[in-house]
């Protein structure tokens, strides 16, 4: 069994064979898989792909998470979260963020209200649990495929793009990381229009900060390159290609885990 399969927890890969590894890593892998949940590939108007690749140094699994959730009102939320730190605690908080965001959005919160509520939850959770303070970069969007809009908040999340046939458009941060300060005013949101053929892609910093033998960072532009190179492929394959690219760039020595989310807009399928 190749190392790649063991380090990878893409949606639908939970049946990947286990190799002999410390029991803690096995437990961590199962935890990350459970945070990811079962694959979601097709939603009205959207082709969705997620991938996760564990670090190959130190704590192999951490708090990176990509989530997609479809609501009864026809909207879909997209979340890419990177919790500070590594290990079981980070993975646990990734789960907390995932279900909190789903809950907020299902109650009718918009993207901004959801992230503000998550920020408040992080701080209150830290206060309640004493030393277990955590921070997170969060990209959270609510897509209305019927209206072809994506409303998003990027809380300190660096690498998120809409790759259109005419070129990439970076989705800039609209606020600081989550968990630092209870300042609602610090967060903002933006709305972008989605067109048929657009591809949304976001990764955690394990991708942008992957380093090659010369210690050169991969950077965010590489995400666009991989997406454009794989434009014709399904979103799931694209997400896997993104994480694989970083793994190979780093010479199989990833220092941080990577979560990737790719969503292809298919307007015809939304009808």
């Amino acid at each position: 069994m190749s190392r790649m399969s063991d380090d990878r927890v893409a949606a639908g890969l939970s049946d990947a064979p286990h190799r002999a590894e410390p029991s803690l890593q096995t437990e961590m892998r199962l935890l990350v898989e459970s945070v990811y949940g079962p694959p979601v590939r097709r939603l009205p108007g959207l082709d969705v792909g997620r991938a996760y690749w564990g670090a190959t140094k130190g704590f192999r699994y951490g708090g990176d998470m990509a989530d997609v959730f479809h609501y009864g009102n026809g909207c879909t939320s997209l979340a890419v979260v990177d919790i500070s730190g590594h290990g079981i605690r980070a993975a646990r908080y990734a789960g907390l963020a995932k279900y909190a965001l789903r809950a907020y959005a299902s109650q009718g919160f918009d993207a901004l209200e959801s992230v503000r509520a998550l920020n408040c939850l992080c701080i209150e959770n830290s206060t309640f649990e004493g030393e277990h303070e955590f921070f997170a970069t969060v990209f959270f969007a609510i897509v209305d495929a019927g209206r072809q809009t994506m409303q998003y908040v990027s809380a300190g999340h660096e690498a998120a793009y809409i790759v259109t046939p005419d070129g990439p458009r970076m989705l800039h941060a609209t606020g600081p990381i989550v968990g630092l300060m209870d300042d609602d005013d610090a967060f903002g949101q933006a709305t972008v229009r989605l067109e048929h053929g657009d591809i949304f892609a976001a990764v955690t910093d394990g991708f942008t900060e992957a380093r090659n033998e010369s210690l050169v960072f991969l950077g965010a532009d590489a995400l666009v390159e991989v997406i454009e190179r794989n434009r014709a492929r399904e979103a799931e394959q694209q997400a896997e290609a993104v994480t694989r690219y970083a793994y190979e760039y780093a010479g199989s020595r990833l220092e941080d885990d990577i979560a990737a989310l790719v969503v292809k807009v298919d307007v015809a399928a939304a009808a």
């Binding site: 206060t127 955590f134 600081p176 990381i177 630092l180 300060m181 300042d183």
Partner: protein, 237 residues
């Protein structure tokens, strides 16, 4: 008869001449702040000025990519926002509580009135702002020239000074964000400080066990800033 003079607990206010103590107790509201509680938001009209007693506040700058880095740490030697002493009415930075504790909160109207009516109050505040500016410039050099372990040691020593005790809550992730360096490098620095017996770090609580050792690791910027604030409290009439 024993006369007990009012003490605010903030060293800057407590350094004011007796004449400026009049009504100070009336003008201050003691506010207990929790960690991460926001006190000032960038771009907002200031409603108050905070004089930390045993709380420590962080003044942060947030870049367009969302990166947030500390540009000032404020404890009982100073106040937030210092721009209020420069006739600014709008917060130029965001501030929040870093180590929970109390502040003496003064309304901006009261602060401005004191600045206008008391020469000594205004002098103390402006000299304090001078120390803030000096420290800010010093730390710019520090961030460029000094090693992460030196910066960590400086930050820990400054925080202990401001909290007024050797033990305080702190996670390394938070320190990494404040210093703007990867958390792995802060972990390495904390491990080294622990190995040399300067600090103990356990479950989000830092204890400075050997102050001398910690200060020997700090760069010159720690002492320079400390002296600047000490001098700002020594004005004569």
């Amino acid at each position: 008869m024993t006369v007990v003079q009012y003490s605010s607990g903030n060293r800057l206010l407590d350094a004011l001449p007796a004449s400026d103590f009049a009504n100070l107790e009336r003008d201050l509201t003691i506010v207990a702040l929790k960690a991460h509680q926001s006190t000032h938001s960038v771009g907002r009209v200031m409603s108050h000025v905070d004089f930390p007693i045993d709380a420590v506040l962080s003044v942060v700058a947030t870049l367009k990519n969302g990166d947030t880095v500390e540009v000032g740490t404020v404890g009982s030697e100073s106040f937030v926002e210092s721009e209020a002493a420069l006739e600014s009415s709008v917060s130029s930075r965001t501030s929040f509580c870093q180590v929970q504790g109390s502040v003496g909160r003064m309304s901006i109207a009261c602060f401005e009135q004191r600045m206008e009516t008391s020469v000594m109050f205004a002098r103390f505040m402006r000299h304090n702002v001078r120390a803030v500016l000096f420290s800010s410039q010093q730390f710019t050099v520090c961030n460029v020239k000094h090693a992460v372990i030196q910066r960590c040691a400086r930050w820990l020593a400054m925080t202990a000074d401001r909290v007024g005790r050797p033990e305080f809550t702190l996670t390394l992730d938070f320190l990494a964000i404040m210093l703007g360096v990867p958390s792995a490098r802060v972990s390495e620095a904390a491990d080294a400080l622990q190995l040399m017996g300067a600090i103990e770090y356990r479950q989000g609580v830092v204890t400075i066990v050997d102050r001398g050792r910690l200060e020997r690791v700090t760069c010159e910027c720690y002492e320079a800033s400390k002296v600047a604030f000490a001098e700002s409290l020594l004005l004569s009439a």
